[in-house]
């Protein structure tokens, strides 16, 4: 609880010793340390942002830390999700995180929620916590976390990352603005590349996550000036921090003067995910598919087939199917790629591939409207690695 009755909270001898560097800090002291012990924080996601921030919160002695995560540890997570170690690959992240946090500080209580956060469970999970930290990686969950925080009147400590850029702020704290005041709507699916397509500097979530942890601790202590009403922008490449003013929108549908969102909604729908999936399925149904094994046979037979890789140049430079030509999806979207493919195909059969089959389906849809038909490599280059070339790393 925030602002607890300090008299009722005890610190043991071991706790005094453990937190001694806090206790001699006037802004924390015994009183602040007791506030930390009485406080509860829920972290949604134990990935890039959740990993460093929960480690620091546990170390700082936040009494109860809730973790929401249903994912398992993957080797590709370890470049940035430092709470998880190599020996935990393939095991639930929540188990790995709990193990690490208890090792850092056995005096904190870890509460596990091994579920996908949804409109059905969010209010029930959030209601027992003082502060919610958004460490998620997708728009539907971010709007869900925001709305649940506004409806329950809890501060939402926000952080988000992309490649070398990060954003952080505190939403819905002391009558401050919320996420919807900043961004009333999410981008349509596919317009913004995901981390798996766009990449992310492994250290970046460390910086942003630790800023989130700092803000949460300041809220508990009631010390300093939080990021409420300020959007902090971090650019790792230029090593620059900037801040922008963030104001409450009186017409905000959830925190404004006449809210229209008064209960949790369907956030997948809000973010256009079902529509995008349906369009994708419809597009897939009209275009042919080819398996990696079938493509290998065609190539071995020296069949008259042109194989186009629509991933980004950086991905192409890392791994590629032999004999393929790179035409990145953005160039196809811009038109020049279409003409390049038209001249390459010139009567041959066409196969298009990407990492796992999504971007190539999109490319084929565009090519189809330009009068060029081809087949999609089912499962992309990952399927090629699985079925044809097990020595190829799946990146």
């Amino acid at each position: 609880m925030l602002n607890p009755d300090i008299e009722k909270i005890e610190l043991s001898k071991e706790e005094y010793e453990r937190y001694s560097r806090h206790l001699i800090l006037p802004e924390v002291g015994v009183e602040g340390q007791k506030k930390l012990k009485a406080a509860s924080i829920l972290c949604v996601g134990t990935g890039g942002l959740g990993a460093p921030l929960t480690m620091y919160l546990a170390a700082a002695g936040v009494g109860r830390i809730g973790l929401v995560d249903f994912d398992v540890v993957d080797a590709s997570n370890l470049q940035r999700q430092i709470i998880h170690g190599t020996s935990w690959i393939g095991k639930p992240k929540i188990d790995s995180a709990e193990h690490r946090l208890k090792d850092i500080n056995p005096y904190v209580e870890i509460v596990r929620y091994p579920v996908r956060l949804s409109s059905e469970n969010a209010l029930e999970i959030f209601k027992d916590y003082d502060i919610i930290i958004d460490g998620t990686d997708n728009f539907p969950t971010r709007y869900l976390v925001n709305d649940a925080c506004v409806l329950l009147d809890k501060p939402n400590v926000y952080g988000s990352i992309f490649r070398f850029d990060g954003q952080a702020t505190v939403f819905h704290y002391e009558d401050g603005p919320c996420y919807r005041c900043l961004y009333p709507e999410p981008p349509p699916p596919g317009l913004v590349p995901s981390c798996s397509e766009g990449g992310v500097l492994g250290i970046l979530p460390g910086i942003i996550g630790v800023i989130q942890a700092t803000e949460a601790v300041k809220i508990i202590l009631g010390a300093g000036r939080t990021l409420k009403g300020r959007l902090l922008l971090y650019d790792a490449l230029n090593m620059s921090f900037r801040e922008l003013k963030l104001r409450k929108n009186p017409e905000c549908p959830v925190c404004g003067t006449h809210p229209t969102v008064t209960s949790l909604i369907d956030y997948e729908e809000f973010c256009g995910i079902p529509q995008a999936k349906a369009e994708e399925e419809a597009a897939k149904a009209t275009m042919g598919e080819i398996t990696a094994t079938e493509l290998k046979q065609l190539l071995d037979q020296k069949a008259d087939v042109v194989v186009i890789d629509v991933r980004n140049p950086d991905e192409f430079a890392t791994t590629r199917i032999p004999g393929t030509t790179l035409v990145p999806l953005p160039t196809i979207e811009q038109g020049e790629g279409i003409e390049k493919i038209r001249s390459l195909v010139n009567g041959s059969d066409l196969v298009v591939h990407c990492r796992s089959g999504m971007r190539s389906a999109k490319a084929l849809g565009i090519l189809q409207t330009a009068g060029i038909t081809g087949k999609n490599l089912k499962g992309g280059i990952h399927a090629w690695a699985d079925e044809v070339d097990p020595s190829m790393p799946k990146v």
Binding site: G45, G47, S160, F162, R163, D165, Q167, P186, P187, C195
Partner: protein
């Protein structure tokens, strides 16, 4: 009049990787018109089908959101710095 416009990381692939541009105009709408005139692919990222500025791309004059000023008709001076700040969602598994 030329004004400095900062291009965020996620949009730099549409501006030949340039992180800041000197653009012509005395209002936000003129400056954005100059921007999309030079880099046409940015248009669909900044505007919806009706030609309205998208709700997940914010534009700031110095540290003020143009929604708190005079929207796209906000006038600018040569000493102002314009920022474009799109919504990003990354943070967790990104698997």
């Amino acid at each position: 009049m030329t004004v400095k416009v900062l291009i965020p990381g996620p949009l730099r692939r549409y501006t030949a990787n340039l992180e800041s541009l000197e653009l012509e105009g005395s209002s936000i709408s003129e400056i954005l018109a100059d921007l999309t005139g030079r880099y046409g692919d940015l248009k669909k990222h900044l505007y919806n089908e009706d030609g309205k500025l998208r709700n997940f791309v914010n534009v700031y004059v110095n540290d003020e959101d143009i929604r708190d000023l005079n929207q796209q008709e906000t006038s600018v001076q040569a000493s102002d710095v314009i920022s474009i700040v799109p919504s990003i969602a990354g943070g967790s598994s990104c698997a």
